[in-house]
Symmetry: C2
Subunit: 464 residues, 2 copies
């Protein structure tokens, strides 16, 4: 079972069984996605009606397909899956994505069909993603098996593994339209009849395109194997997991099980820590952790310098870091402090956190923020820097190029930008910065929440 | 000292001492703000150069002003304040906003000047906001004393009291450009030589325009009085306070004081609870709590129903509510559950949290979300509803009018909207909903964080 699943991510030829000519139908949208992503391999469509869809010939039957197609995507009702899979197997197809739901998660009939597919897998040695999956994506190969209208999925450095159809659907769509980072691989593991989170980890740790792995899991199929694999993988690449079902309600368990669940969740917490998995608790952090990992290195530690245009923000953000997160806002070297003092009026005593407004009003935003950022980035006590940029009408808005330049000059220390000011400038600055390699975050607390996650990733990678 | 400070919020005539003809200077921007807000009272400008600024005559000296102007805004260097105030007092002016910094917060010289102003206050009985304040705003009176380029400040139902210049500056600007709610009063209390947080509370509890009060405080001038006043006010209107200086770093205290600070903060926590103050810990919640209070009633309790288009979101949000917040995601009445089942396919067993996607794909977004929202709003176990709206390409985007209609139909239960989908539709939906009275929140966890704050406000108001 440990044989390579790499062919799923670089198939030379694929079959879509259940292709449809009707826009909106999964059997159409998957083809549309494949076209939109520029897939360069051969595409064989199967539908009894025949004809042509989006320029591809439609075969009337699996029996008519040539032998040895690399991957079949089956988009048929659950009950029709076993027959189709067997037909494909007869034509030498060894790898399958089973899109449909309606299996074990629904009723006994579905469970029986699922059991039959398990038997086929055991008999034939085929590999299967799903069923009950919205597919997988391999941006370097310009390929996706998703039937959700995604359009072109941008290429990036983070890979996602999601035990839910909806990650590779509307959450990906959210990422594609709100953000400027891309993904390497996305794997919707669905009911994980065959390929599961452990297989995904083993594949992704070897994948050169993947710098970090982010997972959404509701269950762990083989906990022992998963812990063994994770213990190995997390020393090489960050592995971040949102494991849901923490609460009674979340886990949909009966009231009588509350205590058991709570203790189970603590066991998971402890086990994850032991094997270096960085656990997260907010769905949004699936996106924002991916964003931080896409643009910036991991910080070497949890010590931040923050620059804000308001004493109130400085104080409340420092409180938030130190009381609600395990992020330090340490003292700077006296020489750094003095340099901050040199660019600031006498009436303010500079320290970390950095009250940047006096320097910014004296020297302008670019020079004030820019010089202060370099001073704190040079300081050995600082692992990461968060500037809260104030961009408002009537105060000259500089090009954000200076932040891009600083990020290039300090490639080993993450810079997370956030804003307080006029929306239009923030939107412009976000687009500019992110298309030039610097991530920005909505809400001024978010960079610190993300930094805390990144610092835990670093600790996990360097554990003994 | 307890005499009414209402005149600050409805002055019939004002003097700007230190008016400037140079755009960008505080002495100019304050006039520009006054014009932008449409102030209808008399405006007397004072500057030794004379002339005219933005259509107003400039008096060369305070001595030339007519007697009995309601309010003077002094925008002069700290050292020039005492002489100017005394001159104003001689002309019958009794109310002052002192904008400049450079007093006790800076050095001994500043402290001496501040002490002199205290003596003038004691001798003459004048009332003072500041010094070291960016001013105050009274939207019903179309007036502001802020010297920060704000433009027209929209009128609303929430009032802010901030012990920081920067709230009524760039944070207000952030609210004005990102949000669609307004404010009733904003008071930057600054160094609070005279008017402090207790005075502000006493005034605002009587102010018909103010539905709720949100404060940022770094210190409490007279804790005993503040607690007495708060105990009274919080039974009438919600009072939300971000009290900073929780951490050693945040409080800028010496290392040796850490323990003392920590215990002090716990004392504050306990005291706030006792007198019904709802404490918040994130600067962003100053904005989002204000947003929730501006649009929606307080919930009657902490029991939420959430509707999301993804099982993963449902499960992780329910976890977040129950494990990380004190928000309940309770069972529905069986009759409600059955109604949800009636609009959903058989293969899914409906419950709270509500997996809305099957109903939305069967009946369309408007009908699916709309009917489900009404079902859970009708349920006596539910105090508030959060729909996570999925708006993506190729799925028909309905008008958001149906949510506005539902909000009108259920005026006693808050509805907080959030999104997962295509940015362009979300932006459009946000603008439509908020200009029609329904608040939306960025990041899917935010509505629940805000709901938890609102539920605490409700508990505080109804305490024995």
């Amino acid at each position: 079972m440990l044989k390579d699943i790499g062919i799923f991510f670089k198939p030379k030829s694929i079959a879509i069984v259940g292709a449809s000519s009707r826009a909106g139908k999964p059997g159409y949208e998957v083809i549309n996605n494949i076209v939109a992503n520029g897939y360069e391999g051969e595409v064989f469509l199967v539908n009894p009606k025949g004809g042509e869809i989006l320029g591809y010939k439609v075969y009337r039957s699996i029996e008519n397909l040539p032998d040895g197609i690399d991957l079949a995507v089956i988009i048929l009702p659950a009950r029709d899956n076993p027959v189709a899979i067997r037909a494909c197997v007869r034509h030498g197809i060894k790898n399958f994505v089973l899109a449909a739901g309606g299996f074990k998660e629904v009723d006994e009939q579905g469970e029986a069909i699922q059991d039959e597919i398990v038997r086929i897998i055991e008999e034939s040695g085929i590999r299967v993603i799903g069923p009950n999956t919205s597919g997988h994506t391999s941006t370097s190969w310009k390929f996706t098996s998703s039937f959700f209208p995604l359009g072109k999925v941008p290429r990036g450095r983070v890979s996602y593994v999601a035990q839910t159809g909806n990650f590779s659907t509307h959450t990906m769509r959210h990422i594609i339209t709100h953000e400027h980072f891309g993904v390497a691989k996305v794997i919707g593991i669905g009911n994980k009849l065959d390929i599961d989170e452990s297989d995904a980890l083993e594949y992704l740790v070897e994948d050169d395109e993947t710098r970090a792995i982010i997972m959404y899991l509701e269950s762990i199929k083989n906990p022992k194997r998963f812990m063994e694999v994770a213990d190995r993988v997390t020393r090489v690449k960050p592995v971040i997991v949102l494991k849901s079902g923490r609460s009674e309600r979340g886990s949909k368990a009966a009231v009588a099980h509350t205590a058991a669940m709570a203790s189970n969740d603590k066991i998971i917490d402890g086990a994850f820590k032991q094997v270096g998995i960085t656990r997260i608790y907010k769905y949004s952090h699936l996106i924002y952790a991916g964003k931080a990992l896409s643009y910036m290195p991991l910080p070497n530690g949890n010590r931040v310098s923050l620059l804000a245009p308001s004493g109130a923000m400085l104080v409340s953000l420092a409180d938030f870091c130190q009381n609600d997160l395990s992020i330090e806002v340490p003292d700077l070297e006296e020489s750094s402090r003095q340099k901050l003092q040199d660019i600031s009026p006498d009436y303010i005593r500079m320290r970390n956190p950095v009250d940047i407004w006096p320097a910014a009003t004296t020297h302008g935003i670019e020079s004030g923020y820019g010089r202060a950022m370099e001073i704190v980035l040079d300081d050995p006590n600082i692992d990461a820097v968060v500037p809260v940029l104030m961009l408002v009408d009537r105060i000259q808005i500089p090009s954000m190029q200076f932040i891009v330049d600083i990020a290039h000059k300090y490639p080993e220390k993450p810079i997370y930008v956030t804003f307080s000011g006029d929306k239009k400038y923030e939107e412009e600055a976000k687009v500019f910065l992110e298309t030039h390699g610097v991530p920005t975050f909505p809400m001024i607390e978010e960079p610190f929440e993300v930094l805390e996650i990144m610092a835990r990733c670093r600790r996990a990678m360097e554990r003994g």
